[in-house]
Symmetry: C2
Subunit: 337 residues, 2 copies
């Protein structure tokens, strides 16, 4: 164990505001960008070009930020937190790259995705390269436990994506199905990101760190799913109810469906099965979710996960970075896109 990070200043003496939760690690986050750039270093032209395209696109960098904040909270003084923050983001990026592969029947939003510009085959190969290059880079920390944490989370993420696809077009998903998917697809990697600094300093409470990350990840996904109902196209940059349009029923309608009338249920089922609103105004589906308080209930459930995440941090010293990790929960809960 190492020395804990900076102590929180006394109340009123200029403590952090929630939206500043990244300020503490801003210089390190810049170094993560350099790490990401390094992972695209290759004698092969296409890898470098796709790298420029991806890095110019930016990103929230939420996973690396959490890893770095936990690292700061634990007082880790080495350099591998930056390396591994880059690794975690790169694995996430690889999954986004492969997400863009178009199935024959399916067309995505019109933006210049990687596969639109480079074609499916190169997109697959560059994603493969990123997954393996990320795990290769993780070897630098010389920790089998960290490698195991990363590979397990990546396996779960992939399983979650496959499971989600298996369940696609099925309106009768249970709450358990839904949580099984998001725990694998989203929460596992957040959990890994937060556990890794615990492994770097060999902290005895590494599991609580993973709990924090997993619960935050579930919260993040729940709010994502809520935003699909509540946000407008202009704010979110994608059409409202885009999940439903792709045959994916999420928690709000999963909760509403058993409470709905026969006619409402038929409408939900038709949209999910046909992956098309047809003559139906999408706002009708939003109205159904609201009518049975399902959006608010989803938000409440997200809030419970945020509480569990907060609780998982309780054994750690009250440093500025712990406060920032708590603010990260507020940020996830209150984000509008």
């Amino acid at each position: 164990m190492s020395t804990p990070g900076t102590r929180v200043p006394p109340p009123g003496a200029g403590s952090l505001r929630p939206e500043q939760f990244l300020d503490l690690i801003a210089p390190k986050l810049e170094r993560v960008e350099a790490e990401l750039r390094r992972q695209f270093t290759s004698p092969v032209r296409t890898i470098r070009e796709v790298g420029d395209h991806i890095l110019d696109g930016g990103g929230k960098r939420l996973r690396p930020a959490l890893l770095l904040l936990v690292s700061d909270m634990l007082g880790y003084e080495g350099e591998f937190d930056i390396t591994l923050a880059g690794v975690v983001e790169m694995i996430h990026t690889a999954s986004l790259v492969h997400d863009d592969i178009i199935d024959d029947a399916e067309v995505r939003r019109g933006k210049t995705s990687i596969n639109y510009r480079w074609g499916n085959y190169l997109t697959v190969l560059v994603g493969d390269y990123l997954y393996v290059r990320a795990l290769d880079t993780a070897l630098e920390a010389r920790s089998l436990e960290i490698l195991k944490t990363l590979s397990s989370a990546t396996i779960r993420m992939t399983e979650g994506e496959i499971l989600g696809y298996e369940l696609n077009g099925r309106p009768d998903l249970t709450r358990e199905d839904y949580f099984d998917v998001i725990e694998r697809k989203t929460a596992a990697m957040f959990g890994a990101a937060c556990r890794i600094p615990g492994l770097l300093v060999q902290h005895p409470s590494e599991e609580r760190l993973e709990d924090y990350g997993r619960n935050l990840g579930i919260c993040f996904q729940l709010i994502d799913d809520v935003l699909d109902y509540t946000s407008s196209t202009a704010v979110l940059g994608k059409p409202v109810l885009s999940d439903l349009r792709e045959g994916k029923i999420t928690l709000p309608l999963i909760l509403a469906r058993p409470r709905a009338t026969e006619a409402e249920r038929r409408l939900i089922d038709r949209v999910v099965t046909e992956k098309d609103f047809g003559a139906t105004d999408p706002q009708e589906l939003v109205a159904i979710a609201n009518r049975y308080d399902a959006i608010e209930e989803t938000r409440d459930i997200a809030r419970e996960y945020a509480s569990m995440a907060r609780e998982a941090l309780s054994p750690f010293p009250a440093t500025a970075s712990r406060q920032a990790l708590e603010f990260a929960l507020d940020f996830v809960m209150s984000r509008e896109r």
Copy 2:
């Protein structure tokens, strides 16, 4: 270092015949099949189904066989050679799965490939799963050096595939371009397979083992490319000159092209650029390669690599497994499919 494997019986006293080079490790190869099956164990149905589909298809299992023979030659007595033989085959399998992703413009042979049955998106995800699961399984041997060997070879393999795709449709490939691609795409993983047992027993000549594997790999690819010219559809199971048909010029025509007449060169360039024979009989291209002795020369070059591979084995004791590794070279040189 451990004790070397079984000594070769004295000449005449029933030594191995070339085609029997696998007999020595047949029981271990069976256990590799069980390893492969284990890597498809998952709570996710699609992963198990694709696993059954892949494993029922069988395969040469050349990479695991070489790993196990080297392991036997070095007298390794643990179990990780079987685990890692499975890992190497699984990485190879993952690359084959992703190879099948159809680019919009491109249609593959009509057989039930994985993406034909499961669609592009699931095929991508199952391939991802296999890559990461393979590296996760490799963690069991608890050797960072082995992990580095595997990840480096996988990165090179992916780079080679991307490079090959960048060069696709270009008739002016140089011999250097060609070797750059095959060294990455094929030779690196053969090299890794043969190096790994050296790392398991911490053998001081591990680099010679990798040399053996790399040179055998190049030899394997050269003969593969020769067979595209010399074998019939019936034997090879795919149309003759299928590489050319996909816009891929290989060593025979790379060697013949500068020696060809202007008209012959124009013909080569048209087929490679258009990825279509049009009115041309494919046999005309075979005739050009033969006219300038380019097929025989490719075979000679393959033979040189086989010699280098054989030479790399010289410091190792003359066990039955070393003899089998030499026979593997004869097998690769003389195979007809």
